[in-house]
């Protein structure tokens, strides 16, 4: 739409130039903004990540099967995980923005068979939670981190899942309801500093086409069916920026927001699935780290001897079922009930209390994941250099040198890592307490009532902090990987 049409639409005179009220809008920065708003802007990033994914599949299936020598395992389990946690902390949901798994969906959409809607009972986060459980269980059982071959098949599984779901359903259910990576990113992007928002609310009020959600003639609308004028959260936002490209008024901004704005304001929906997802992800973080220290082997031995469980898969199912499903369920439902009893206000439904205080687990979980993923990235972030040297040499290319320099590995000195891990967990804990307090203080509630209401949640967070620090204080140990999951 040209400028004249825009002015007429807004009812201004010929000299009325559009002035965005948003202080800083990344979509209007000189070079980056133009690239992001360009019709193929996202594709540039997706193609880069697609190339990385193709490398993961190719090297994983054909390359050396020692994990530290193969780009599939190094990129997937060191760099991808380090990258997403830092990107979420510093910017936002950048992985979903550049997600390569959605590229074959464009083909699938053209081949769409039935065009049916995703079943109503599944329009929640329970499928994502099941997917997270499955992938973390497989990760431990099959030692995915030690197997380039299996890691490649995980990437293939993502491509196939996304492609098939897009072909069978009219909307894009994979991102919103299925993808475990997306669920992780959605949850922790609620703590991210960037958010999509309208530049001028009045423009949206008078908009007829609602192209941001309906799409325009050339650009699709929001794939996860979010409506920009009512957007108050990063939850379910893939940062695809289709809304910004589709808006004929250039009224969509990607702008910074106040730290913890989303977590401290009363915008979280009261939903059991969402509350459970946030709390469970914190426990996934603990169990994922617990799987890498010595006591887990003592537990396996005890379960084998005392319970007669000879199968590694069954023992892990039991451990993970307890740590990642039963305990989070107890925390969410028990915490809400105890909160209700402690506050002395029985009129408050437990669901509302769970929805009110579950966001405090976002910074707590973030701290734990940052400590864990940050550890591997700090220790082996540069390991990708000799891996790529070796990969290129295997293909007769010596651009990066005649020999792989296997000594390259650390990004940070070893002695910095543990203090940084402790710092990440403690900052997560104190920010979580702050979020609890901010959410407890509201009209109609006395400070004493609010304090009693948050007490059960604060105690759980304290316990999580102590357990996490104890785990990170233990020396790492990874056993049982020989001849498992390796071709």
């Amino acid at each position: 739409m040209d400028r004249t049409a825009r002015i007429v639409r807004r009812g201004g005179g010929p000299g009325d130039i559009y002035r965005p009220p948003v202080n800083l809008d990344l979509l209007h920065l000189p070079v980056l903004g133009r690239l992001l708003r360009w019709r193929w802007g996202r594709l540039v990033f997706q193609v880069f990540f697609l190339a990385v994914a193709v490398l993961v599949v190719y090297d994983g299936l054909t390359g050396p099967q020692l994990a530290p020598e193969n780009s599939a395992t190094v990129l997937a389990w060191v760099h991808y995980r380090g990258f997403i946690i830092l990107a979420l902390l510093l910017a936002g949901n950048l992985f979903c923005f550049g997600c390569p798994f959605t590229l074959p969906r464009t083909l699938a959409r053209r081949l769409s068979l039935s065009g049916g809607r995703w079943p109503r009972p599944l329009r929640n986060k329970w499928v994502s939670i099941a997917g997270l459980f499955l992938i973390f269980w497989l990760y431990e059982w099959l030692d995915l981190w030690a197997s380039p071959w299996l890691t490649a098949w995980v990437a293939v599984g993502y491509f196939v899942g996304s492609f098939v779901l897009e072909a069978l359903f009219a909307e894009s259910p994979f991102c919103k309801y299925v993808c475990p990576l997306g669920a992780f990113n959605f949850v922790y992007s609620t703590a991210s500093p960037l958010q999509i928002r309208p530049r001028e609310a009045e423009v949206c009020r008078t908009c007829v086409g609602k192209e941001c959600i309906n799409g325009s003639a050339t650009v699709p609308g929001c794939g996860t069916e979010l409506f920009v004028p009512t957007l108050r959260s990063n939850m379910d936002c893939t940062f695809c920026l289709d809304c910004a490209r589709a808006c004929p008024y250039d009224n969509v901004a990607l702008s910074p927001r106040a730290p913890l704005e989303e977590l401290t304001h009363d915008r979280w929906p009261a939903r059991w699935d969402l509350a459970f997802l946030v709390v469970a992800l914190t426990f996934f973080g603990i169990s994922n780290a617990f799987g890498m220290v010595s006591p887990v082997y003592a537990l396996h031995t005890w379960m084998a001897e005392a319970l007669g469980l000879k199968s590694d898969a069954v023992r892990l199912l039991l451990i993970f079922g307890t740590l990642n499903i039963a305990v989070p369920a107890l925390v969410v439902f028990g915490g809400a009930r105890m909160s209700q009893v402690a506050s002395g206000r029985s009129s408050q439904p437990p669901l509302h209390l769970a929805g009110r205080y579950a966001p405090a687990f976002v910074p707590m979980g973030f701290g734990i994941w940052l400590a864990h993923y940050g550890f591997h990235f700090s220790i082996a972030g540069l390991a990708i250099v000799p891996v790529m040297q070796s990969f290129l040499l295997d293909h007769g290319i010596s651009w990066l040198g005649p020999h792989p320099d296997w000594g390259m590995s650390r990004v940070l000195p070893q002695e910095w890592v543990f203090p940084l891990q402790v710092g990440a967990v403690l900052v997560g804990f104190f920010v979580a307490l702050y979020v609890l307090l901010r959410r407890a203080i509201r009209p109609g509630t006395t400070p004493a009532e609010g304090f009693r209401e948050i007490l059960p949640w604060a105690l759980v967070l304290l316990l999580i902090t102590v357990v996490s620090l104890s785990i990170f204080n233990l020396p790492m140990e990874m056993r049982g990987t020989f001849n498992v999951g390796v071709r």
Partner: protein, 152 residues
């Protein structure tokens, strides 16, 4: 003569289904071929597979976190010692995300080579012993060692 729109729609739908199945089948076939048929040649290929590289001693035994020594004997197929090789050791955890241990071996005579290194953590290790012979050929052997924690 006008075309029957219902029949055209059915045909389009059938075409789409065929295209979908063709794409999907092609993708799976390509992957299966890649997964099953290809193993890349690597630059680290052993150029002297006929030579013997035996572990004489690995201390401490059983392995434990901390300092360790590995004594190797390099010999020809008949067992005669080979001297003058530049040997080194690389220790990796079997998973990505940890720093490798790199040490050069010291030649102690009669085809024996000793390496001092450190098991930096408990767990499963992939030890790669590699070297260059005086004639320029490279040799590479791998072994797997599980280092238990103090508690076993």
């Amino acid at each position: 003569m006008s075309r029957n729109p219902l029949r055209t729609a059915d045909r389009t739908r059938t075409d789409r289904r065929r295209s979908f199945l063709a794409c999907f089948a092609g993708f799976i076939v390509a992957l299966t071929l890649l997964a099953g048929g290809c193993t890349r040649r690597t630059t680290t290929t052993d150029q002297a597979p006929d030579l013997r590289l035996d572990i004489v001693e690995l201390r401490p035994d059983p392995p434990a976190v901390g300092q360790a020594t590995l004594l190797l004997r390099l010999g020809d197929p008949e067992g005669r010692p080979i001297e003058g090789a530049a040997m080194s050791l690389r220790g990796d955890m079997t998973h990505a995300g940890m720093a490798a241990v790199l040490e050069d071996a010291e030649e102690v005579g009669e085809g024996l080579y000793r390496v001092w290194f450190e098991w930096t953590m408990a767990g499963d290790w992939a030890i790669t012993v590699s070297g260059t012979l005086e004639d320029g050929r490279t040799i590479r052997r791998e072994l797997q060692v599980s280092v238990p924690s103090g508690g076993g």
